[in-house]
Symmetry: none
Subunit: 212 residues, 4 copies
DNA sequence: TATGAATGAGCATTCATTCAT
DNA sequence: GATGAATGAATGCTCATTCAT
């Protein structure tokens, strides 16, 4: 298992013109904030520029258009999360092979953490993925990486306890279920029932599905 | 169990002014078509009016604004689907209590049918629910009805085979998992792996979760 | 020879909503004025709207875009000029066949009048015809009509005095020469030499070319 | 008759700072290419800089603004053409005095060659001359030189065969007619009738006008 | 001289909604 | 009820030009 590359669309961060890099960072921060709180369609390039303390023109010097900013923010966000997952798994004794309750808890825990990081932005991406082709494609790509990660983990589990044979289908279904249930929990305010009850049910479901 | 009411914001269809009602219907049909194919933000009131063969002004005589049309279309759509579920369960001998594989298959089957009806419109609603408060609320209300329906079905099952005690949490988790996996299947073109494999995995997961 | 149709892109003028027609006229008048004095690229839709005393939105209710306005103004302008030519030729005893000096003077005279009507607007069209495909096509179409008109006139002349055999080539060359020389005269301020001298030379050239 | 000076706004080409001069040349080449293919309004200074392999700032170090580049390119272009004319006339035995068919053919031939060199750029200048005061003035100046050249040629012809007395008016009218007919030929794609027919008619017209 | 980030006014166009007829 | 002309704020984006490094 390798460290997840960030797929950065720019050369090495921090290289080149330091001023430009700083501006780019400021735009991305302002963009992440606005996109999260206002939503894509309500966030105009003018607002972004003002929030970043620069001019509109400058914004367009750094990003081809609004969507490019959105995707850049998303990719950075995902890269951070992937790094967290990777680190966590390393710490958990990856070589021994996580399995049973421990693995399920790791997966659900990561999904929870992912939403804690920036639930609003995540919400926006989920909305846009159904509406915009480019966003849909990028989100799908990231999902693929997660699916493959889970498949690797499952196939290195103790096979006697594993209860599924179609590993890929199982991985996909589990990923979607976990992501969406967690998303649903974080998004519905107020939640109709306690978060712990839902998490417990979710964990049970996944555990009973995958393991004996 | 009662027949699911349509929550119609208007009196009985066909009653009262027949002309106004017919116009309203034409707007809703045109709206459903456009909202599905173009998306909410790309569907202007002018387009809707033209497609319905009426004037913009007339559109605003029948609906307060675009969102009201959207929600009206959604509600009608959902009412139709609920009726289908209700009919199906009646036919399946509801009194006897559906359980085990049969119940899981019924639930997954209904979700599949719901998307077959109008997958694009459903996709739009999923996008908007995260973005627009009103839409989110209405969608959540409809979800509540489905959750309660599943809970009723579970509690009338043979309790010896039932494996869960927190019925509500289980119902919520199952509903989200089923809806989203099915949605994911219908939405990703081309799907990364065969639909049947995903459906099989989904059914297994739900079955193992709920029943011994 | 038939009266030159106006190729109007709208139904009968004055029909339908009288208010809309009046607004359309005001836009066209304001547009003709601004396009002439400021030039196409310098005339913004905002300016046009302000000059017409309406809102930007209203402008776009009546014309798809700026170019559609330009072409509408041009077509109206050309239709007026063609009507003038037609009337003039009728008066000049068209049946008898205009020839020699009389014909040349008629042609040159019309060209002069055309520029008198609205030289600045004409100048703009000449600029745009080289730059914009649509404008180029429309101007070329109008030129074709004039060429065919001259050909008809030439072929109904006394053939003994006619000095050219390739009527079409002759007509095209004469039209271009007359239009451009006249245009050059009207456009260059101050003219390097007296207008009458240029007109005389032009008339001589055309006359000696066409007739014995 | 003297060799036509280029009216270059810079010292002798190649002198002084060789680096600066080379950069200037690269900008002019890139500019000529872009201005021809994209048009003045569509050619941004950024594009020019990129095409020339330099920075925007550098562009503005060498040219006050976009228009100065345009005019520089035009002047260079014209200088090249004038040199060609001059060389051609030298070769044709200028001292003997070109006249009749030979002179007409020389004039028309040069106009054709001028367009062959860079018809698109020429087209752009024709558009701009009507729109931009500076361009108009520069083009007019160049036209003056051509008019005077033709006048010289006419006045050194055998006066018995010459048919015009107002030499200047004749020269102006002929220049415009030749330039515009040739321009029309090169510009209209596809041409409505064969190029040779138009050229033949044009030559006949000019010949019959000027000579017995 | 060279660089390229920064500027900000400006532009064409859209669109939900109103309202006089 | 129906009509459709009118509204004008708002949007995404461009571009000639400047200037600190």
């Amino acid at each position: 298992m390798k460290s997840p590359g960030a797929a950065a669309p720019r050369p090495a961060v921090g290289a080149r013109q330091p001023r430009a890099e700083r501006t780019r960072q400021r735009i991305m921060e302002a963009g992440a904030r606005l996109l999260s709180s206002e939503g894509y369609h309500q966030t105009s390039s003018k607002k972004i520029a003002r929030a970043a303390g620069i001019s509109v023109g400058s914004f367009y010097n750094h990003f081809r258009d609004k969507k490019e900013l959105l995707l850049a923010v998303y990719r950075e966000h995902v890269a951070r999360v992937h790094q967290m997952i990777f680190d966590a798994l390393q710490g958990g004794g990856l070589g021994a092979g996580l399995e049973g309750r421990r693995l399920v808890e790791a997966v659900v825990g990561q999904a929870l953490r992912l939403h804690t990081l920036s639930p609003e932005f995540h919400r926006q991406m989920m909305a846009l993925r159904h509406t915009d082709e480019d966003v849909g494609r990028v989100v799908a790509e990231e999902d693929e990486r997660v699916v493959r990660l889970l498949m690797e983990m499952l196939s290195s589990s103790n096979s006697r306890r594993l209860r599924v044979d179609d590993l890929e289908a199982a991985a996909r279904v589990v990923i979607i279920a976990v992501e969406e249930v967690v998303h649903g929990i974080k998004v519905s305010v107020p939640p109709p029932i306690g978060e712990e009850r839902l998490i417990a049910a979710l964990s049970d479901m996944v555990h009973r599905f995958l393991f004996r």
